[in-house]
């Protein structure tokens, strides 16, 4: 007979403000096989974890349920806690009553409490049928692949090769450097990008472990953490397959192209920030300029701020003034984003040096017209509460950074998610940044969201640090959620063989009986075979038909009783 302990978490007032935690604990006591039901303030704290361990010992529990936040954050923590107390980590079941109950039914505390009870009842039903599992290990190939040779990819690669880790970098252009190739200096210190890139590339090339694949793209990716196989195809159509243990995505972003905003493309003299960077690099300095910030940004449909464009405009404004002290430079903005100490100082500096800053609103956009050889700008300055007119030669549109065009291809090949805007989505903003929910694949740089160069470098180093963990350990633990075939129930109909996306199942013969057989190393634990099997012969560990059926029964029983 299983001895189940149920621990309901208050999570401070995150759960307790909506769900009556005590009532749920009382209810849990009435469920079959439950020996003890308690509630604590923060189950994930040292105190909370200790209380659970104490209860396991005192009550001789062999199954543990925690009803708290989402398993996607703290399941490993609670599993390890069970292990410490002598309970196999897979005899633990997590019930989500925060993200799935208290936070989404905040105005219906009674109904939320009822729902929490139902979910606990379902969890208890499953827990009673859990079996202890042992994890298996898989070795890790000590090679890393970095996709993208921009600043974050290069930073990641330099950190990897300096540790002696064999690294392959894939870059679609002929040269390394990404967008920074087109930008001569970066603010606020006016550092030369060429020097920065050259230094980094030189250091990397010193290592025999560094391999570059230029003018190439990733065309296929198979495998799982520790055992990836990446197919790299060059523009010349030659392909090479690289086996790797970890993959870092550093595919970057691109400058959004305006679709005629403010006369772009129709009236000459209107350029984007990148175009200005290219001109300044060649020494082609405009005599005067108006920068318009937030063009195509912070509007419905693209409501984010790209972070670096204000600093970029201020930097370029200062460059223009330095080259031509009499230049009239104006920055039209909808809030200046110059966070931190240095950027804020540079902003003040620029204002003192004569760069004009004017705030405009979305409801009164600057009007641009061709006038003679040049342009005229009319803007309603919100601070002055008046319309200001200017005659100038060059208008620079500070546009957002958006995802690269083929981001969906990369996402599909790696099977990683992108958010609504097309930027890659990491596992968890706070608890698991820089990595995807899929183990072994990491994300850095502007592919995740627009960032400053310093931030990109930091993220690249961070991704390299994380990627080196499985490589250094040499092995990864395979979660025991694989499938297996119950030979007695199998009739070798072949449904599972056809259904498996990984071709991990085949029909074999044992003692004269034909049956299905799963090669565990290939099994990823999707459970497709389970649903295809008509005989209940294929079972997935941790998600067996008896367990899930018991959950359905528990819901039916408790919900029907409640409604009577």
């Amino acid at each position: 007979m299983p001895r189940i302990g149920v621990f309901i978490c208050h999570c401070g007032h995150n759960i307790a403000s909506t769900v009556d935690v005590e009532k749920v604990a009382e209810f849990a006591k009435t469920l079959p096989n439950v020996v003890v039901a308690a509630h604590n303030m923060y189950s994930c704290s040292e105190e909370g974890l200790g209380a659970i361990r104490k209860s396991i010992e005192e009550n001789k529990l062999d199954r543990v349920i925690v009803a708290a936040c989402t398993p996607r954050t703290h399941e490993p923590l609670f599993r390890r806690n069970c292990e410490r107390a002598g309970v196999n980590k897979y005899l633990f079941e997590f019930v989500n009553i925060r993200e799935h109950v208290s936070w989404i039914h905040a105005k219906e505390p009674e109904a939320a409490t009822e729902k929490a009870k139902m979910l606990v009842a379902m969890g208890v039903a499953k827990a009673a049928l859990l079996e202890p599992q042992e994890e298996s290990e898989s070795s890790v190939i000590p090679v890393a692949v970095v996709i993208g040779g921009g600043i974050s990819g290069l930073a990641a690669m330099s950190a990897l090769v300096s540790q002696g880790i064999e690294t392959h970098l894939i870059e679609k252009e002929k040269q390394l450097g990404g967008i920074l190739k087109d930008i001569a200096v970066i603010g606020p210190e006016m550092k030369s990008t060429k020097e920065l890139l050259d230094k980094m590339i030189k250091e990397i090339k010193c290592s025999p472990k560094a391999h570059f694949h230029l003018s190439s793209r990733m065309t296929d990716m198979q495998g799982f953490v520790g055992n990836f196989e990446v197919t790299i195809t060059g523009d010349d159509k030659c392909s090479v397959k690289v086996k790797a243990g970890a993959i870092i995505v550093a595919t970057g972003g691109r400058e959004w192209t305006p679709k005629g905003e403010f006369g772009f493309g129709k009236i000459p003299g209107i350029i984007t920030q990148l175009e200005l960077e290219k001109r300044l690099a060649k020494g082609d300095v405009p005599d005067n300029a108006v920068f318009i910030q937030c063009v195509g940004s912070r509007i419905p449909g693209r409501d984010f701020c790209s972070r670096f464009c204000c600093n970029a405009s201020i930097k370029n404004a200062l460059r223009i003034i330095e080259a031509k002290p009499n230049a009239q430079v104006t920055i039209l903005h909808r809030d200046i984003m110059s966070y931190g100490t240095t950027a804020e100082r540079v902003y003040r500096d620029a204002a003192e040096k004569g760069v004009r800053f004017m705030r405009y609103g979305l409801d009164s956009l600057p009007k641009i017209e061709k006038r003679g050889d040049g342009l005229s700008v009319e803007v309603f300055d919100e601070t002055l509460d008046d319309v200001i007119g200017m005659s100038i030669d060059t208008i620079v549109l500070a546009v957002p950074m958006v995802p690269i065009e083929n981001v969906k291809d990369v996402a599909t090949q790696l099977k990683v998610p992108v958010d609504k805007l097309g930027f890659f989505l990491e596992a968890h903003v706070k608890l698991r940044p820089i990595e995807f929910a899929t183990e072994g694949i990491f994300i850095c740089g502007t592919a995740r969201w627009p960032s400053q160069v310093s931030e990109c470098i930091a993220q690249g180093l961070g991704a390299a640090a994380k990627a080196s963990i499985p490589i250094r350990k040499g092995k990864v633990v395979i979660e025991p959620i694989t499938s297996s075939c119950n030979i007695e129930k199998c009739i070798a109909c072949g449904n599972c063989v056809a259904a498996c996306p990984y071709q991990a199942i085949e029909i074999v013969e044992t003692d004269g009986k034909r049956h299905a057989f799963v090669t565990e190393a290939k099994c990823k634990g999707c459970g497709n075979c389970v649903a295809a099997c008509n005989n209940d012969a294929m079972q997935q560990k941790g998600f067996t038909t008896t367990q899930l059926s018991a959950m359905i029964d528990a819901l039916v029983k408790n919900a029907m009783e409640a409604s009577q």
């Binding site: 129930k489 199998c490 009739i491 109909c493 056809a498 295809a532 209940d536």
Partner: protein, 257 residues
């Protein structure tokens, strides 16, 4: 009939003896006796039970159109080796065609009987489709309440080859000691049969409670046709339930239901 006609070592037919008609598995050399073709019965089910005990030799069996389709389903799954089976095509007569509401009663090769036309539609199916879901549910609940879980339908079904391992005997889906079994029993069976059932009607004939099982099979058969353009009994086509979306009628992002 003579063995030499078919170059077979065994013959599987319906034979009259001792006052009744029953399946007979006759070895070469034995007397064939009074073979009958007018009593419908699932000889393929009998074949699949005997087959594992006959390691070699060719078996000639009398097949109606539905039997032929059943054989195809078994050949596809490697349960019976098609090279060992010789089919003696039997065209059903009007009596049987009407009872089965059969739309396609002519086997690919007719050795016995005259080809007759099939029935265009099953009257009960038509009536049921016109009803509202509630009325239809009342009808089926009344019918399925009569079920006493005798498993006659599964035992006589030629493509129900799970025998002892039938999941409907499990307690997880169908509660223990529940007679009649809940609706889940019949829904699960229908789902499992969806890509295999060849509408021979044996289940309906076998049912002691006279539940119109063939009618339900016909409804699901029409569903498979509508959704995937798939009809069981095909020699090659893999069940659409096992393939990916490529090239399937459902292939697009919006295939939510």
């Amino acid at each position: 009939m003579a063995f030499d006609d078919y170059k077979a070592d065994y013959l599987l037919v319906m034979r009259a003896e001792h006052g009744s008609v029953a399946p007979a598995f006759i070895s070469k050399g034995e007397e064939i006796g009074d073979v009958r073709f007018d009593i419908p019965y699932q000889l393929i089910t009998v074949l699949s039970r005997i087959y594992p005990q006959i390691p070699k030799g060719k078996i000639a069996v009398v097949v109606r159109k539905c039997d032929e389709l059943a054989l195809n389903e078994l050949f596809k799954r490697g349960i019976i080796d098609g090279k060992r089976i010789f089919k003696i095509g039997l065209a059903c007569d009007e009596n049987i065609i009407d009872k089965c509401r059969c739309p396609d009663p002519v086997p690919s090769k007719v050795d016995i009987g005259e080809p007759k036309k099939g029935v265009a539609e099953d009257a009960t199916v038509t009536r049921l489709r016109k009803m509202s879901p509630d009325e239809r549910l009342k009808f089926w609940v009344r019918q399925f309440r009569k079920c006493n879980k005798c498993f006659g339908c599964t035992i006589t079904c030629p493509v129900c080859f799970c025998e002892n391992q039938c999941v409907l005997g499990e307690r997880t889906l169908v509660a223990e000691k529940s007679i009649p079994p809940g609706l889940a029993f019949h829904l699960v069976r229908s789902f499992h049969m969806a890509d295999k059932c060849i509408e021979c009607g044996e289940c309906e004939r076998a049912c002691p409670a006279e539940i119109p099982l063939l009618t339900f099979r016909k409804m699901v058969h029409a569903d498979m046709k509508e959704l995937y353009g798939f009809t069981p009994g095909d020699e090659k086509t893999v069940s659409p339930l096992l393939t990916t979306l490529e090239g399937e009628p459902l292939e697009d992002e919006k295939n939510v239901c």
